[in-house]
């Protein structure tokens, strides 16, 4: 007779990672010998390391004591051999329902050898903190890249970074009460309390005048408040207050939606680089399930990513031209861009927010007759852009405003972990497409392209990097069309393992996009963390502004191609019953307090 135990054993989850030979719990010696540098780190921090684990291909986790976190982060960041290693971001998790502890986990993009995706890896430094004392020593004083990261976990989870040089509020609104932490698991996602408004701006330095810029940027029409402290015309110091479009996306994704639904929410984080977010998230979940997606799906994803990069770079160069007062350039750049949008609409069904992805592959196939169309558009864009660049770079209006303005030296770029074209214009040779193992979700390992790097670090260099990249992207698209393999476009994923973590990443046109996913029970997401590239680039903007004129400020800010809604992620909409009822004033006030920020 069949017993229940037999049935349970039959239906028990079988770890696909173990079947494929990438068991997450292999022994320490095997894990440490896999990549260069891991053993060295283990020897240096031996007495503080509790556990080490391979999360998935090219992602390693060390569980270490919280006391040594700053030393460990700096050990990696300032490693003399791994030159371009940077602190990517950090995740704070409320793991009290699981083990009664909080978790703070910075992670680094380690570059053993530039552009070798089989050598480089990610290192996660996981530190547990007791529930009654969630504090950890801050590294921000020595490493400015951690400035925002530590302020974020302080706001959203109530961790205390001991010794942080600037512990002001970063993300939550000014009227949010003290001691209420939205990302803790005991808080309901519909709860939105209100308190007295309390603003914390930086003190004005002696002998300067305040020039407020914002809360809406004049060029990119997005909310961000810069406070420039000027002496005459020269900018001396800058204060930044943003996060006005914080939407609570991470909280909505956690536990409420299934893993395939979160994908569409991820795509809507940004109106510009939506597909990059979607691919990153899908990649993280595919890594967790340890499935290999079909080659054709990888190629289609890469194709769409590159088409997105092409039209985004054209969009940006248009805005840059507009900000320097060269409006003809703006009109032409956007005119050139439009055929890409039409092409994308024919390929996916929408101009933006393609809805092309599903965890495990893509939803629409690229039919053969479309290839002609893509090649035609690529050819047209190449010719027109060449002409446009030729004219723009010979226009004095453009050159005089962009050259030698907003210089970001290499050292500062590295200290702030600046990413993408902004970093490459300052001489950092990084590109996640080639640096990290993107080959499980994208096909960059099978195409040939160059990564343009400039050393000047000014606005003009950023323009040139982007334009060079645009031509490389056109070249990638042509190769992809040429090499496109046949076969399926998706594989089923099945069940996800419980409480495992993985990272998905792509190189958006602004820098590396990172999606960290920790699974929960029943195929839900327990913790989802999104880090858009602007999150790392924006703290470096004050450094770029110092010493230049107020008139240059809009251009310098726009030169990193900031995207505030990406950076600030996180609003939720609640389905209420359709009942209509006349409210008294008191009731109305109560409701408006309850649902403030919801609608």
């Amino acid at each position: 007779m069949v017993t229940t135990r037999d049935l349970e054993a039959h239906f028990e989850f079988e770890c696909r990672a173990c079947e494929n030979g990438h068991c997450r719990k292999a022994d320490v010696e095997t894990i440490l010998s896999e990549r260069k540098g891991l053993k060295e780190f283990y020897e240096a921090f031996k007495e503080h390391i509790k556990e080490c684990k391979r999360m998935t291909y090219g992602q390693y986790m060390f569980v270490i004591d919280r006391e040594v976190l700053p030393e460990a982060v700096l050990w990696w960041h300032n490693h003399p051999e791994f030159k371009e290693t940077h602190l990517s971001t950090a995740v704070g998790t409320d793991e009290r329902p699981l083990n009664g502890k909080f978790v703070y986990m910075p992670f680094l993009n380690v570059q053993v050898e530039p552009q070798n995706m089989d050598e480089n890896y990610w290192v996660f430094l996981k530190a547990y903190m007791p529930a009654d004392d969630p504090s950890f020593p801050s590294v921000a004083a020595k490493l400015p890249a951690a400035l925002w990261i530590e302020r974020e976990v302080k706001d959203l989870l109530g961790f205390n970074p001991v010794g942080h040089p600037d512990p002001r509020r970063l993300i939550l609104p000014e009227d949010w009460p003290e001691g209420v932490y939205p990302l803790r698991k005991d808080m309901d996602y519909r709860h939105s309390p209100m308190a007295e408004v309390k603003t914390e701006f930086k003190e004005k330095p002696e002998g300067t005048t305040l020039v407020p810029m914002g809360p809406v940027h004049m060029g990119i029409e997005e909310p961000a408040h810069f406070r420039l402290f000027v002496k005459g015309e020269e900018i001396v110091d800058v204060d930044y207050r943003g996060f006005y479009s914080h939407r609570g996306i991470e909280k909505t994704g956690e536990g409420r939606l299934t893993y395939n639904q979160v994908l569409f929410l991820a795509e809507r984080i940004c109106g510009i680089c939506g597909y990059q977010h979607s691919v990153s998230y899908a990649m993280a979940v595919e890594r967790l399930a340890d499935v290999e997606i079909p080659d054709r799906a990888r190629y289609i994803r890469t194709l769409m990513l590159e088409l997105e990069r092409i039209h985004n770079h054209l969009l940006w160069v248009g805005i840059a031209a507009h900000l320097v007062g060269y409006d003809t350039g703006f009109m032409h750049a956007w005119r050139i861009r439009e055929p890409v949008m039409w092409l994308v609409e024919r390929l996916t069904g929408n101009r933006k927010q393609y809805g092309m992805n599903i965890v495990g592959g893509v939803r629409r196939d690229i039919l053969d007759y479309r290839k002609e169309e893509i090649l035609k558009v690529v050819k047209q864009i190449r010719e027109e852009t060449k002409k446009f660049i030729d004219i723009a770079l010979n226009t004095n209006t453009f050159i005089k405003r962009a050259e030698g303005v907003g210089i970001l030296p290499y050292k500062i770029a590295k200290a702030y972990s600046v990413l993408g074209p902004t970093a490459r214009a300052s001489g950092r040779r990084i590109d996640t497409r080639l640096d990290q193992a993107t080959k499980t979700a994208m096909a960059y390992n099978e195409v040939d392209f160059k990564v343009p790097v400039y050393k000047e670090g000014d606005v003009l260099a950023r323009v040139l990097v982007r334009m060079d990249e645009l031509f490389e992207s056109l070249w990638i698209v042509e190769q992809l069309i040429d090499q496109m393999p046949g076969g399926d476009i998706m594989v089923p994923i099945g069940d996800l393992p419980e409480y495992e973590e993985a990272l998905g990443f792509t190189e958006a046109h602004r820098g590396e996009v990172v999606h960290y996913v920790m699974t929960g029970e029943k195929n839900k997401v327990y913790r989802w963390k999104v880090r858009a590239p602007t999150y790392n680039n924006l703290p470096a903007v004050p450094e770029m502004l110092k010493g230049y004129h107020v008139a240059d400020a809009p251009l310098i800010i726009a030169s990193i191609d900031p995207c505030y809604s990406c950076t600030e992620r996180v609003q939720f909409v609640d389905v209420e019953t359709g009942k209509v009822k006349v409210l008294t004033e008191a009731e109305f006030n109560e409701l408006s307090i309850k649902y403030r920020g919801v609608f």
Binding site: V262, G349, R363
Partner: protein
């Protein structure tokens, strides 16, 4: 939505003399919204429920990311209500993909501007199946049961046994199994355990 015209559709009915003037004077600018604009056939517009094909299974509701589709049971009236709200729809066409009968029909309508929110809501009501034994309504609709019968391979399934049980509630089914086993074996105790385990699975 099927009955009332959308705002932009109404606009197109207006007889505006500018339309002709536009086309002569400006070759590029179109007098939208007074005329239709070209949409590619691949464009994903708002979907629409075809009530004739819908069986009320709720596959679309499970797949819908923004909760634009909602399923409600009214056991008193014996009705299952599927509501589609175009105002919440993000036009991802997941519902179109997962629909087993093709009742979610894709369109390429994108103009949903309206002066009345109710224009955007589509409601489809299904009759729930009724269990004669317990006198209660099931969770399934009558059409779902019809559909199950139609797709099950007749060579493998014992259709008579299926007919016998498919319209019953879970409790009635269990009761029937117990009774049957009691008849055949004459001992209720082991049969009860078997049924309970079967119920858990």
């Amino acid at each position: 939505m099927a009955e009332s015209l959308s705002y932009t559709e109404k606009l197109k009915k207006w007889n505006r003399f500018e339309v002709e003037k536009f086309s002569k004077k400006a070759p590029v600018t179109t007098p939208y919204p007074f005329i239709d604009i070209e949409k590619p056939p691949e464009y994903r517009g708002i979907p629409h429920i075809n009530p004739e094909k819908c069986i009320g299974c709720g596959a679309c509701v499970n797949a819908c990311p923004p909760d634009a589709l909602i399923l409600e049971w009214d056991k008193k009236r014996g009705v299952k209500r599927l509501t589609f709200n175009a105002a919440r729809c993000i036009r991802c066409h997941r519902c179109v993909e997962v629909c087993p009968t093709g009742a979610m029909e894709p369109t390429n309508i994108f103009e949903i501007a309206t002066d009345n929110k109710e224009d955007l809501v589509e409601v489809v009501e299904h009759k729930l199946a009724y269990c004669e034994e317990c006198g209660e309504y099931l969770d399934f609709t009558e059409r779902q049961i019809e559909y199950v019968k139609a797709i099950l391979p007749k060579e493998i399934i014992d259709m008579y046994a299926l007919e016998d049980r498919i319209g019953l509630t879970q409790e009635a089914k269990m009761r029937k199994t117990v009774e049957k086993l009691r008849e055949t074996e004459g001992n209720a105790y082991p049969a009860f355990i078997l049924v309970k385990k079967g119920g858990e699975e």
